[in-house]
Every structure is written in structure tokens, then in C-alpha cells.
Subunit: 348 residues, 2 copies
């Protein structure tokens, strides 16, 4: 491997390889609650939850969202799924010389609306400009800090009534035998909306991005209790996220393919394009690992929110397998592998 | 104004205008200790000090530094000059498809070395790739979180023995009549090293970038006490930083031009190129506002460090003026204005 390819930024195995071999080995190790090497949604240091995301989405505006809403929600969700509440955002904007100021303003309006909606302020920022031709229009990197949710202790205590829970956070390595896997809604909407709009496939009239801030929905779930892991399946989609749980928790996960919510037009688009909706990215969904005794209660609270109305139990952890196995709609079994990379480039 | 220009990212008046008219008005206001609207080095929210910086430096490697050392030090310094200690860094890397992996590794090696040197870990990150031609090689956005320095209360108490100090942090609005202004070293090295190397002017054999993490030097000063403001004069250099203090603190500042340390080759290069070294960016320097009674003590501790060996008292706050006035080397007075933008593009 000598040069960077698009796949190195697509969230799957290739990116993992880039990080593991060409970035992480050069960085000194320090003792941190949830460190870089855990590859989790956020880091935790001195009980501060901290994350960052570069947004290179193309095009800047698309059905259901834009770079502004994406830059707010993507980062808020990474904080939230640790079991934390986002406190503040930092926004670094890099602009191409010659970009219309109106384009910047339109994106900033969206940042403002979603910041208001989520109740999380942008508190600091940075602005740089690169020469015309040195950058495709605009990128925004958003970082966020969060603090432990006031409901997380309760959530973990509830889970602990049924089986021992050692982690203080909702990390990827908390899944145990029998835990139930819930998807908070339909999978693949964001990637398909973006791809279809960009390439003019025509599905964009029916499919919109699911971009949404999940911080309040996460709080609702924590108040019920029993959740042990949460993750937002962005690049590489459900398949990537669930494989991270399986490998980091060291347990097999069986997924019932028919139970995974996929919107009809997304399914149709994926069939036509030869894509697996489970490998396509989302921006307003999460998967939740929950002790089996609390699964129905968690599902109930998800169904009460517009953001969780299509939530479904999609599988469970089982030591029968040591990887992720899909029980297909025709009754067979196949391994659901982590994608090499998200099949749709520059979705976020 | 209809389109983005290079000046909008150059840290001076033009950037301020872009922020004030086209970004900030769209963002909702929340109550925060040190908010976005204060345009300070970092924000403070729930006693977490938080900052972000996009690094678009060109070229990626230059005399005295590279994008990796810059990405670590620039952000650490923004946290430190608030009177805080940086706890952790987040690193968002955006790469151009086709970039040699060796270039990335060389930058990451530098990130690792400076992270180790400063004692601040990279705890989380993100990696994206844009198509060949959509980005000039690589940009890195670094964010950092910090906590109140354990010496900041002592520092402010010492200052408070001589005159009332109301702020809890070393913000830009703390300068009062009689406060002494110290520059921690020579001004303009970074911008001139970069410009000369990029354009092949030949000064790069003598001038190296001053990139350095200032967190330990800041602690040394706070232990002495009496500092009320600190700032790292990056884009727009000393002239920009000192004008921010004057306007936000609402007091004039008189600067003795002959006292401001400028290295001989930087002075020569600036004369040849028609640049003012006071408007050129630095990456390992700070200016310090200190109560007059403690100025000599602060200077003494600066001189003990290699990073502060050229530190000098360069001026004082005075209500005789309502802006920044330079007492020139020939004995006249002129207003030192904030530059429209740093004269050297893409220095950081």
C-alpha cells in the first residue's frame, strides 16, 4: 500500500488498516478512560467525553439535509451513544476561495437550526481559506465535549440487576450472551438519499436523509434502563457497527435479516444498484444492545419518539457463533461481514 | 461582498467581518462562561476549556516544522493561554486520494513527537478522503480540551493584591491601566520561514519556524503570578493580538517598537518583502499582560526557559490612548492597526 485511496476514508476495514498501521503506531500511549485505540464513538478523559468528525459530504445540500445539519448531528450522536450528554460544539470551517458567501450562509443557517433543536451551542470555531482549486468548496470539522448523562448510572444499574456490567460507559465491548440488539429505525436512508441525488438516479423524491440529533432519544432510553451499548451506524452502516460490537465484545451476534427495518424505496434502490442497505450509512439512527429483560421496555420508549417509531428488535448476542451471522429471509444463514468500506463515497 | 477571498481566512479584520456578518448571526446564543462571541483563544463551558483549529499550511513540511507539529502546538497553545492545561487532543484528518502514505506517516510521526513533548495525548480522531483534485494533499483539524490550571487561582490572587481582577480566566478583556505587556520572544519567525521556503527567497537557511508547545511555560508564569491576559499571536501576528486586547479591554496600549524582539534575518526579510514583522504569524510565542509590580518576576522566569529566552517588556496599557500606539524607533508615534489579514497566506 503506497497511496491513499477513497476506501481509506470509508469507515470500513480499509480505514481500520490505515489507522492501525500508518497513524496510531506513531502516537504515544497515555492512560485514558476510553482511549484512541479502542476505536469507540468518542474518547473519555477525566470524565469528559470528547469526539471529532470531519465533514466532506458531496454535494453540500441534498434531500433531508446538508453539510450544516450533518456537522451538528454526526458529532452530537457520537457523544450521545457513549451514554453522555453533549455540552458544546467547536466548528472548524475550511472554505475554497471564490465560494459564494450565500452558500456558506445557507450551511450556517442549518448549523444554527440544528444547534437550537439539539440544545447544544457552538462555543468556539476556526475559519481557514484555501486557494481556488485547492479544495472542493467547503469542509466542516465539528468537535464536541459531553458529560456523563445523569441517567447513565441508573441505566447500568438496571442492566446489572440481570447480569454483571463492568463498563462505566456504553462502549462497543459490553455485549454479552443473550443481549438483545435493537435498531432505532430504518437503515440506509442517508447514503441512498445522497447517492441518488448526486448521481440523478431518481430515488431522491422518495428517500430523504435521516439526519437527526439523537441526544434526547438516548436520554429517554437511559431513563428506562438496561442498555449496555449504543452506536450510531454511520459509514459502513449497520454491518460495520454490528461487527465492531461482535469483535470488541468477543461474542457472536445473530441478526434476523427480515427484522431489520429498511424503507421500501431504499430496498428498491439498493437492489437496482447492487448495494446492501446494511452497509450503507445512516445519520439519525442508533443500534442499542440491551439486557433481554429490558428489551421490550426500551422498544416501547423508542416507539414513542418520531426518531424511533420504526425501531425493532433485530437480533441477539450468542456464543453459538464467533462473528455476525445473518438469518436470511429465505431461512439460511450467512456471515455478515464488515464492509471493506462504505459503498457510497463522501456521504459525511 | 459576494465571494470568499483568501483574506477571509487570514485572521485579521476581514475574517472578523466574515464571522460577525455571515456566520455568528445564524448561531443561537446560549449562556457559556467564555462564549463564541468573545472571539477568545478558547471557549470555556462548565469549566472545560475547549478549542479547535483547522490546519491548511502549505507546504506540509518547512524549516522548523510541519503540519503535524503545527496541528499539535497551535491547539495546545490556544488552551494554555486561557490559563488552562490541555488534557487531550482530537485529530480530524482529511486526505486527498492518491497522497503517498509516506507523507501521511511523516506528518503523524511529528504529531506523535510533539504530543509526547507536550505530554498531551491524541485520544480520538477521524479520517476522511476526498477525490484526487478535490483537496490539496492534506488538512488536519485539531481540537483540544483543557482544565483550569492548578496555578491560575494563585496567579490571579497575586494580581489582585495590586488591583482588582474580576475575570476567572486569562481572557482578552482583562487589561487595565498600567498593565505591562511582555512578548515571550522574537516575532514573525514562523510566517517568514514558511513564506521564504515556499517562494524560495533564501531566508529559510537562517529563519526557522518557532513552533513549540507553550503549556509548560504558561505554568511557569502562573506559578510566579500576576498575569491577567495571555494570547498566542498567530495569524495577523503581534499587531492583531495586541489590538484585540486593546479593543476588548477598552484601553489604549503603547508599544515601544525598538523593544519588540525581532530576529535580524526576519527583519531583513521583512524589509526586502515590504512586510511588517509585527503582522506576521507566530506559533511558539505568547504575549502576556501582567500587573506592573510582577513584570520583572515574570520576565525572569521566561528567561529561564529556551522558549522564553528572548522575552522582553514591550509596552504598557495607558488611558492616554484609546487604541494601540507604536512609539517608533525614531521617536515618533503611530497607530498600530490590526492587519486586514495576515500578509502570508496558509501559514497554519
Amino acid at each position: 500500500m503506497k497511496r491513499v485511496t477513497m476506501g481509506h476514508g470509508a469507515g470500513g476495514e480499509l480505514m481500520h488498516e490505515l489507522l492501525s498501521h500508518h497513524i496510531i503506531p506513531f502516537l504515544p500511549q497515555f492512560t485514558v478512560d476510553v482511549p484512541l485505540r479502542s476505536f469507540d464513538d468518542s474518547a473519555v478523559v477525566d470524565d469528559i467525553v470528547f469526539t471529532t468528525d470531519g465533514h466532506t459530504v458531496k454535494p453540500l445540500f441534498f434531500p433531508g439535509g446538508d453539510i450544516g445539519s450533518l456537522a451538528v448531528c454526526g458529532t452530537i450522536n457520537d457523544i450521545s451513544v457513549m451514554g453522555a450528554q453533549p455540552l458544546a460544539l467547536a466548528q472548524s470551517i475550511i472554505l475554497e476561495e471564490g465560494l459564494e458567501i450565500g452558500v456558506l450562509e445557507r450551511a450556517m443557517k442549518s448549523v444554527g437550526q440544528y444547534s437550537e433543536l439539539a440544545g447544544v451551542p457552538v462555543v468556539t470555531g476556526d475559519t481557514k481559506v484555501m486557494e481556488s482549486g485547492a479544495l472542493d468548496k467547503m469542509v466542516i470539522t465539528t468537535s464536541a465535549v459531553g458529560k456523563r448523562s445523569r441517567f447513565l448510572d441508573h441505566d447500568l444499574e438496571v442492566a446489572n440487576e440481570y447480569r454483571p456490567v463492568s463498563s462505566r460507559w456504553l462502549t462497543d465491548d459490553n455485549i454479552r450472551e443473550g443481549d438483545v440488539i435493537i435498531a432505532s429505525g430504518t437503515m440506509g436512508d442517508h447514503g441512498i438519499a445522497l447517492l441518488s441525488f448526486r448521481e440523478g438516479y431518481g430515488f431522491e423524491t422518495e428517500v430523504k436523509s435521516d439526519i437527526a440529533p439523537l441526544n434526547r432519544l438516548v436520554e429517554d432510553v437511559l431513563r428506562v434502563g438496561g442498555a449496555v451499548s449504543m452506536k450510531d451506524p454511520t459509514r459502513g452502516g449497520f454491518a460495520n457497527a454490528i461487527n465492531e460490537w461482535s469483535s470488541k465484545s468477543g461474542i457472536g451476534i445473530e441478526i434476523d435479516e427480515a427484522a431489520v427495518p429498511v424503507a421500501e424505496p431504499v430496498r428498491n434502490a439498493c437492489e437496482l444498484l447492487g448495494l446492501d442497505p446494511l452497509s450503507v450509512g445512516n445519520e439519525g439512527k442508533m443500534i442499542i444492545g440491551v439486557v433481554p429483560e429490558m428489551a421490550d421496555e426500551v422498544l416501547k420508549v423508542l416507539h414513542r419518539s418520531p426518531l424511533g417509531k420504526n425501531a425493532a428488535i433485530v437480533g441477539k448476542a450468542t456464543s453459538k457463533f464467533d462473528c455476525v451471522v445473518l438469518r436470511t429471509e429465505v431461512g439460511g444463514h450467512r456471515i455478515l461481514e464488515a464492509p471493506v468500506g462504505d459503498p457510497v463515497p463522501r456521504i459525511c
